[in-house]
Symmetry: C2
Subunit: 316 residues, 2 copies
């Protein structure tokens, strides 16, 4: 009889870990440093050690542990194979095989944004839904897609790479992915700051944004204070993002659109701006589809990792 | 023991029907007229009658029939409910419930483009794949999406409405869906003819297209003959479609992209043009994703309808 499972959300700075009971209650939550040096060779051994130490500390019976769900910042195939992961230093890596050999526990892996979507569906902003589109607006723009309750993994583990849909032909700078005109170049925190710097350079209007470091947070703070330049930046950001989301929903027809990541801290005003352009360009069946803010913050990943394992337990 | 199933692909002009054995061989194939008058009230009774007549004609044992799969030209929910279907005259319609009551057989329904994708995956251009993106370029642009072997239905039955992704801000004409700048306005047969008329009006260059009715077929025939105006039209069409497909694959990461519909009869040259813009804008994981031409033509629907039923038989 299985009673517990672990979630391990591997990020570029820390590995977030969680111990859950089979009903989905979090019993423990902690993190360890991600050692990316030496091609990230220590990351999986460190993660295995952290799990084994927790098992020992809590005196758990290994027979009662359903497994470890793992989130990885990059493409992951359905077999738990990562072809490459820029942020961790990994080349080809058989994540679930290695972690399973090191712990003796069953493992499943998913892309970090996809498992975050699974977490939000389970206990967060998309609770009760089966078709979910999650966008995380942070340093980059990540995406997680749930179709009929399951992660859309894709043929190369790259399903939901929505930050890289092409939205602008007139973009000279290159995106981190190598292309030009990706959504991420306009709708990430970095992209919003870029739009703001361009708007400030294009005019001489007074603006709160001239008085401090230009960040996405500064833009939304200025917007809330009625700043005219910030308003133009928000309009432009929202045109790219709202139209981009309309494209996604014409393809996916989700039940709910969840917005997470650091930029989502701007709150309701963010959704108001996005909705305007969304409604103009969304297909008729999806024009009224609900927007929600993500609720689990940085914990979405470990919840989703746990759910990866618990879904497997329910299937068997 | 089930031995047979029916596929019924309902179109605006005819209902295409097929009788299949459980291994997927087509035993019989025929069609009846679609009577759209009187809000399409006769369509399901006619379809039921056609199926029952075939059962009688072939002296089949009703106990051995697994069911009827139905394709509908519009959104269909997972419960077989159609909210509205412009081409058939239907308002709200419980398709599977009504057809099941009229025949005494289990029924499942899917959107016509989605079941066509299922058919192409089963025995056509995407055979052996589990993640498929099908585009049908005809009067409109339809789409069918298969994720891990199953149709992506969507929360409102509108998954895969890829003809209505927004691709152009500078479009004054409205699409049939009510929006402006939809992919369908540029990549359908109608859209290609519109681009060609615009290209002819913009210049006075001699062109084969000035000598006959401007159709999508005429454009590709002229292109094959080296016509310079046709080449500009093909470039513009391919920029919209290739970039649009790149957007779709960044979201879906399919194993194969299948192009069907009347426009696909242009053949390999069509794929060459699309691939150029596709590769420029596709996300790195999907840049090498294979393009294929659809193989089943107008039969893709009845095959997919049959597969809807046979998948259910295998599940049970």
């Amino acid at each position: 009889m299985k009673k517990y499972c672990f979630g391990a959300d591997i990020g570029g700075t820390t590995v977030k870990l969680g111990l859950f009971d089979i009903e989905g209650n979090v019993l423990d939550k902690w993190e360890i440093k991600t050692h990316t040096e030496n091609e990230g060779a220590a990351i999986l051994p460190d993660t295995a050690e952290a799990v084994m130490a927790k098992i020992k500390e809590r005196n758990l019976n290994v027979e009662e542990i359903a497994g470890i769900g793992v989130g990885v910042p990059g493409p992951v195939s359905i077999d738990g194979i990562v072809p490459h992961t820029a942020n961790l230093g990994w080349g080809y890596k058989e994540v679930t095989k290695e972690l399973s050999e090191r712990t003796g526990l069953p493992c499943k892996a998913g892309n970090d944004a996809n498992v975050a979507a699974l977490g939000e569906m389970w206990v967060g902003g998309a609770k009760g839904c089966k078709d979910v589109l999650l966008l995380t607006l942070g340093t980059g723009v990540g995406g997680g897609i749930i179709v009929d309750g399951k992660i859309l993994t894709g043929a190369h583990g790259a399903g939901g790479e929505i930050g890289h849909i092409h939205v602008e032909d007139q973009m000279e700078e290159h995106c981190g992915c190598g292309n030009q005109g990706c959504l991420e170049q306009f709708a990430s925190a970095t992209g919003i700051a870029r739009l703001a710097r361009a708007a400030l350079a294009e005019c001489e209007d007074p603006s709160l944004l001239r008085e401090e470091e230009v960040t996405a947070k500064a833009v939304f703070d200025a917007l809330k204070a009625g700043d005219a330049v910030a308003e133009r930046v928000a309009e432009r950001f929202a045109r790219y993002l709202g139209t981009g989301i309309a494209v996604m929903t014409a393809i996916l027809d989700p039940e709910v659109i969840v917005i997470g990541g650091g930029v989502s801290k701007a709150g309701g005003i963010l959704l108001d701006y996005i909705r305007k352009y969304y409604k103009t360009n969304a297909y008729k069946s999806s024009k009224e589809t609900e927007f929600a803010l993500a609720q689990l913050g940085n914990d979405a990943g470990i919840y989703g990792c746990a759910k990866l394992i618990l879904d497997g337990v329910c299937e068997n």
